[in-house]
């Protein structure tokens, strides 16, 4: 497979594509992640990949870089059909991926990082440090990078420079196709400019680049073409010169939101939660919002916009640095999750496995974990009361488990989520914060959780729901708030919340101003 990379550098972009994937299919248990996605990258082209969270971008790049194997479909590199069994196969075919979390060895030098795994050897198989330094110098010189030295320790570099080290590592292995997953997410403005310079330089050398970003302006600055994915399908590919951000947003979100969501109108009562100028660095920068009894408020935004951080601050997991939180009109101090619980705030976290459940524990024990005080007398747990509590929860949420003493780690995602939800509702909260309540669970369980949310709202519970699925936000919310870079940037009433308007506010394109006015 190593021959796959002899692409002539000056080959014009309209000739043989560097990479062509055709009709790629990939399913995970219960989810069809990709269906029939085709897509190609020409030498010297920057091809942007756009789509909402869960649209299938990550799966696609993992298939191209050999992490996952497709169920069907073909991958051609430089006209040759290839099958990648491992990331190593893809690397040998000249494909390198720069992930958001950089995979560097912080305590090693720049040169060691660049040549990890393929360091020059001297006779006898020893590492040739002199050659390694020389090759690194040459690589730096060829890209006119002057502020990096081979001997610098990577841990001491800025994020931007670390990223460049990773790009250099890819180039040192003769990568012809570079996949960059949100490379600017953690960069300062200065580093972004330098990254763009580097990308243009690579482009002129004939390196093909798949560029994933949520930032529209970057795509228009850098990319030649853009492909939009939605729900695992290929929506379309456009030349950047011939499209607009409006069209792209429309392509990303444009789908009908029908009776999929059983949203019921219920009378909306007094404010339960009022947040004023809440600040918790780095991602909550002065947020004010109100959630009323019976109301479901949807919080939309891109990953990294600060939604979960805001939720955790309201819940006291990361207490606020300044600002006020009022519950039912009374100012409260929420210094810890324990305090939040006592005040009647419940929080169903984003990640069931790491934040929601204690996996070695049984169904019964997980159900009672947030209300131990209720089932305990003099510090000892009343087994009968605990069993009643868990049984009530299992019945109410229709949890399918073998028995109450089953270990939760073995249940399906949907059933696990119902337990996390049930655990908190056993505590009879006034305010329920849901963070990605239906992520990664099957359609049936999803519908049940939505039905339950409506039921709870009808009983007067105030619900703040974070979701990265726009249809869910639009379908379930009475009001939609949009967060971007740590601030609330738009608010829409249910009637005004169109996918285009909310999508535009999330992405920060011009149309957002219209939303802000609403």
């Amino acid at each position: 497979m190593s021959e796959a990379r002899n692409v002539a550098v000056d080959e014009p972009a309209h000739l043989a594509p560097l990479l062509a994937v055709e009709r790629i299919e990939r399913s995970f248990p219960g989810v069809r992640a990709l269906s029939g996605v085709s897509f190609e990258v020409a030498p010297g082209e920057v091809h942007a990949l756009l789509g909402e969270n869960g649209a299938g971008k990550s799966t696609l790049i993992k298939i191209i870089s050999g992490v996952y194997q497709p169920d069907a479909g073909t991958i051609h590199v430089d006209g040759r059909p290839l099958r990648f069994e491992s990331p190593d196969d893809a690397r040998r075919a000249g494909i390198a991926t720069i992930y958001q979390e950089l995979l560097l060895f912080r305590d090693l030098s720049v040169a060691e990082n660049i040549f990890m795994g393929h360091a020059p050897r001297s006779r006898g198989g020893w590492l040739d440090w002199t050659a390694m330094a020389a090759k690194t110098e040459a690589l730096l010189a060829s890209l006119e990078i002057t502020d990096l030295r081979p001997g610098q320790i990577v841990g001491s570099l800025s994020v931007g420079n670390r990223q460049r080290v990773e790009i250099l590592r890819a180039l040192s292995q003769d990568a012809q196709l570079l996949i960059m997953d949100e490379p600017t997410a953690a960069l300062t403005e200065y580093d972004v400019t330098r990254l763009f310079d580097l990308v243009r330089r690579l482009k002129s050398r004939g390196v093909g680049i798949i560029y994933i970003s949520h930032r529209m302006d970057e795509i228009f600055q850098l990319a030649d073409r853009v492909t939009v994915l939605r729900d695992g399908a290929h929506v379309g590919t456009r030349k950047v010169a011939e499209t607009s951000s409006g069209e792209l947003v429309q392509m990303m979100v444009g789908r009908r939101i029908e009776s999929l969501f059983p949203k019921v109108e219920v009378p909306i009562g007094k404010p339960v939660l009022e947040v004023r100028d809440l600040v918790r660095r780095p991602l909550t920068k002065g947020v004010s919002l109100t959630v009323r009894a019976g109301e479901i408020v949807g919080l939309a935004g891109l990953v990294g916009s600060g939604r979960s951080e805001l939720a955790q601050t309201i819940f006291g997991a990361t207490p606020a640095e300044s600002g006020q939180i009022l519950l039912s009109g009374k100012q409260v101090a929420v210094r810890s999750p324990g305090a939040a619980r006592a005040l009647g705030i419940a929080y169903v976290p984003e990640d069931r496995a790491t934040q929601g459940l204690v996996r070695p524990m049984t169904v019964r024990e997980n159900f009672s974990l947030a209300s131990l005080a209720k089932v305990a007398r003099f510090g000892f747990i009343d087994s009968a009361a605990e069993t009643r509590l868990a049984e009530a929860g299992v019945n109410r949420f229709r949890v399918r488990a073998g028995s109450l003493d089953q270990v939760v780690g073995r249940l399906s995602g949907g059933n696990q989520q119902k337990i996390v939800l049930g655990k908190w509702l056993a505590n009879q909260p006034k305010l329920l914060i849901l963070d990605e309540p239906t992520r990664g669970i099957d359609v049936g369980a999803k519908a049940e959780i939505h039905r339950l949310m409506c039921e709870l709202a009808a009983q007067g519970l105030a619900i703040l729901m974070i979701s990265s699925e726009l249809p869910e936000v639009l379908g379930m919310s009475d009001r939609v708030l949009v967060m971007r870079e740590g601030r609330l940037v738009a608010e829409f009433a249910r009637a005004d919340a169109t996918p285009e308007a909310v999508g535009a506010a999330m992405m920060g394109s011009q149309a957002a101003d219209a939303g802000r006015a609403a």
Binding site: R341, G356, R359, E365, A370, S403, L411, Q416
Partner: protein
């Protein structure tokens, strides 16, 4: 408290099988099985005197393993407990020789144990330093300090009242065995039925989820270390009072024996799983095997190899069990 049985309340069909396949049941079968096999080979092994000695001489390990089990279930480890037991035994012996009232002689090691361990727990919980590092430091401090202060001298001429092992209940049950059994039962009930006990499992199983449920992992870890210090104090008393002299050194690798008892008893080294009934049974099993080696004419030095083998077998079994559990989810 309608169902105060150790067996699962509503275990469904697999309940009985699960009960018999539990770590505790397997250990009990192993203890009985070895007794029968070795007894057939050499009937003297089954003499009441020998069986009592096995338990009597190792009760302190079982008691220390109770605290260790709590520490490991909470997701931590303590390797300073062996040295701490040595220090506490010496303190208590010195006080006894100095002629202090027995109440003080017995209470002081408990208090000092709790203080030392609470300190370590605070460092682990509030400074976020891994417990293996903190307790490694304490191990050296205690071990070095003990040798420096005592100069390696043994404590002898202990007053008669000091010897707990000579007190027997109803003329058959020596005090150390009674203490071991009582401590195990109380700790088991507390771990299983108290809200604080549940907090230990939650913290070790998933400390972030526990924290978001309003359980404080920090406070829980502190509490666990404090209790561990209390059990270490009791263990030190049992250790100090079983012989006529107190050496300024404890059996080598005592902390490892204690950890072995916990792990072989079914405490998952990854935290979140395990019982103190298991660790006590495992402590007895290990002692039984050590004694059995003598009765079947195998060098007692093999006990270390046997302990090592037991650890590997249980840890591998634990990992396999977890993997199967994950696959099921």
């Amino acid at each position: 408290m309608s169902t105060l049985a150790i067996s699962p309340g509503r275990a469904g069909e697999g309940g009985a099988i699960r009960l018999f396949a539990s770590q505790e049941a397997l250990l009990a079968f192993a203890i009985i099985g070895i007794a029968i096999v070795v007894g057939l080979y050499n009937p003297r092994f089954l003499a009441t005197r020998n069986l009592t000695d096995i338990v009597l001489g190792n009760a302190y390990i079982a008691v220390a393993a109770i605290g260790m089990s709590m520490v490991i279930v909470s997701g931590n480890i303590d390797i300073s407990v062996g040295s701490l037991i040595g220090v506490l035994a010496t303190i208590s012996g010195s006080l006894a020789v100095a002629g202090l009232p027995m109440v003080l002689v017995w209470l002081t090691p408990l208090v000092v144990g709790v203080v030392v361990m609470t300190l370590q727990g605070a460092v682990v919980a509030y400074l976020g330093i891994p417990s293996i590092v903190v307790t490694l430091g304490m191990l050296s401090i205690l071990k070095g300090g003990l040798i420096s202060v005592t100069g390696g001298r043994w404590i002898s001429d202990l007053p008669q009242a000091f010897h707990l092992a000579d007190i027997e209940l109803f003329g058959i049950l020596p005090m150390p065995v009674l203490i071991m059994i009582t401590a195990t039962i109380l700790a088991a009930l507390w771990m299983r039925y108290s809200a604080s006990g549940r907090a230990i499992y939650a913290t070790g199983g998933n400390s972030e989820a526990a924290r978001l449920c309003g359980v404080s992992p920090r406070r829980t870890v502190m509490m666990v270390f404090a209790l561990h210090g209390l059990f270490a104090g009791v263990a030190a008393l049992l250790f100090a009072t079983q012989l006529k002299v107190i050496q300024s050194t404890v059996p080598p690798n005592l902390e490892l024996t204690v950890i072995t008892a916990a792990v072989v008893g079914g405490v998952s080294i990854l935290g979140g799983v395990g019982t103190v009934v298991g660790s006590t049974l495992a402590a007895i099993l290990i002692a039984e095997i050590a004694s059995a080696l003598v009765f079947i004419n195998v060098s007692p030095y093999w006990i270390h190899a046997v302990q090592g083998g037991l650890i590997l077998v249980t840890v591998v079994a634990d990992i396999l069990r977890r993997r199967r559990r994950q696959a099921g989810g």
